[in-house]
């Protein structure tokens, strides 16, 4: 059992165990985790949740190392939740984030937790959202969620943070591939990393391209996605990124957008939880496994159409 008083006082062991509990795939643990979340939810400090995404090699970890240290220097307590891809074969993962956030990982006011992405019901982000809340209950007031910018996890993370930052490569040549459909709508800021030395010129060029692209997309809200350059390695303009995010926070709080965004996310969260519960109920149904197995076989043998098979499974409920 998790010692919730210890968790609230910011004890690392208690926080780590609590995150393990919410990540557990065991039904019994899910029940305990939900109860725990219900209990600690009112204790959560008011936090700022920032999602950080970008393609592999863009320098996410290096950016978080520099950015996290800056946040600590201005008095913040920083939790980093990083999702690492799992091997699809055996399901194991290599979680190497701390090797790339060496200084941040030593800071008293930092907590870094890499999590394996592998095969969770309800998706990766489901657990990340709950882990985020545990970090808040433990007194962390800035939560950085790191996600690899490929596939579903990016969209899920964007849907649970207050600010979504996408890191970009400075190569202006691949600007068209760089602008993925959807990113423009998701990103609150696009930050071109590696703007140092010889990279400076191409970063500025990339900035112009992205800026043009941003201008082409209609933004219904109060905030125009910002395009910036920085160098995480050389610690250049990292402070500018932070003041831009502070500016966003101030404006969105004033306009009531901050709370509105969270409220909308809570609604989505409920939907996700509901789907997860339905899925669990389904798996718990006594005939589900057998019927599904039989129908899968029949579909493979070509005796039943996929449509008919799906309908027969659904008819169980």
């Amino acid at each position: 059992m998790i010692d919730l008083d210890k968790l609230r006082s910011g004890n690392r062991r208690a926080l780590a165990k609590a995150i393990t509990l919410v990540e557990s795939q065991k039904d019994e643990h899910r029940v305990q985790a939900q109860e725990m979340l219900e209990t600690v939810l009112p204790d959560s400090v008011k936090s700022l949740r920032i999602g950080i995404s970008g393609t592999p090699g863009v320098g996410k970890s290096t950016f978080i190392e520099a950015f996290g240290k800056l946040l600590i220097s201005v008095g913040k307590k920083v939790a980093v939740l990083a999702v690492d891809p799992s091997s699809p074969v055996a399901g194991g993962s290599i979680l190497g984030d701390k090797t790339r956030m060496e200084e941040l990982s030593r800071e008293k006011n930092a907590y870094i937790r890499p999590s394996p992405a592998g095969g969770q019901l309800g998706g990766v982000a489901q657990k990340t959202r709950e882990s985020m809340m545990l970090c808040e209950a433990a007194g962390f007031d800035v939560i950085l969620v790191e996600t690899v910018g490929v596939g579903q996890s990016e969209f899920e993370v964007a849907g649970m943070v207050d600010f979504f930052l996408v890191l970009m490569q400075p190569n202006a040549g691949d600007e068209l591939q760089g602008i993925k459909k959807g990113i423009m709508e998701l990103a609150d800021a696009m930050v071109i990393n590696k703007a140092d030395g010889e990279g400076e010129t191409s970063a500025l060029q990339a900035k112009r391209y992205y800026q043009n692209a941003v201008n082409l997309v209609a933004h219904p809200g109060f905030w125009m996605p910002q395009v910036m350059t920085c160098s995480a390695r050389e610690n250049i303009r990292i402070d500018k990124v932070w003041s831009m995010i502070c500016d966003y926070e101030k404006k969105s709080v004033e306009l009531g957008e901050f709370d509105a965004r969270r409220a909308k996310q809570n609604k989505q969260w409920m939907e996700k939880l509901f789907m997860e519960l339905i899925e669990r109920k389904m798996h718990a149904h006594s005939d589900y496994k057998r019927v599904r197995g039989e129908l899968e076989r029949k579909v493979i043998e070509g005796k039943v159409t996929p449509l008919m098979g799906a309908r027969q499974i659904a008819d169980l409920f």
Binding site: R13, A16, K17, Q25, K26, G91, T99, S105, I112, P116
Partner: protein, 191 residues
């Protein structure tokens, strides 16, 4: 050897089955922190900070392939930092990959002639580092996290490590499957 242990060392299939059973029981995969300890690390880290010694990387990849969740530690981490990472990531076990120069020990009191090339300062440090690490786990109230070692050491060194609280001291000729199996068994019997 327990039933689990003999079951797993026959083929890769059974370790994966064992792994499935573990996941069903615990709700997650066995999670281990791999740390490189010893001589070649200093040299390597001065060239490229944050890069694990290749031995540790090979071990990490192999264990991940067998279904473990594997955390890597920065090469220059001291005992306090290693324990902190083990706690923060909530690992079941810390695996120390020990590298010493050929012919040297890690500081165990070997019998006469057993280690007559002597131990240089660096390698002699390893044993004291490991015992410092184990003490640090006690200090930080995390004694339930196991410590295992692997490396090309003398019998006396292996024995010395197990005497100071290392759960398993694996030899370099241990088959990866057998090693994974032994780790899994150690984790199961500890939880």
């Amino acid at each position: 050897m327990s039933e689990l242990a003999t079951k797993g060392d026959r083929s890769g299939v059974s370790i994966l089955q064992l792994m499935d059973e573990f996941v069903n029981q615990q709700g997650r995969r066995p999670r281990i922190l791999v740390v490189a300890v010893g001589q070649d690390i200093q040299a390597e880290s001065s060239r490229d900070v944050g890069v694990q010694s290749s031995g540790a990387k090979i071990i990490a990849t192999a264990f991940a392939d067998l279904g473990f969740d594997v955390d890597l530690s920065p090469t220059c981490a001291d005992s306090k930092e290693i324990v902190r990472q083990a706690i923060e990531n909530d690992v079941h076990l810390v695996a120390l990959s020990i590298h010493v120069a050929t012919g040297t020990g890690i500081g165990a009191e070997n019998g006469e002639g057993a280690n007559d090339k002597g131990t240089d300062d660096e390698s002699a440090n390893v044993l004291s580092r490991v015992s410092e690490l184990i003490a640090e786990f006690k200090t930080q109230d995390a004694e339930d996290i196991l410590v295992v070692t692997g490396g090309d050491l003398s019998d006396a060194d292996h024995k010395a490590l197990e005497q100071i609280g290392v759960t398993l001291s694996l030899r370099p000729d241990t088959q990866m499957l057998l090693a994974a199996n032994q780790l899994l068994v150690a984790i199961v019997s500890n939880s």
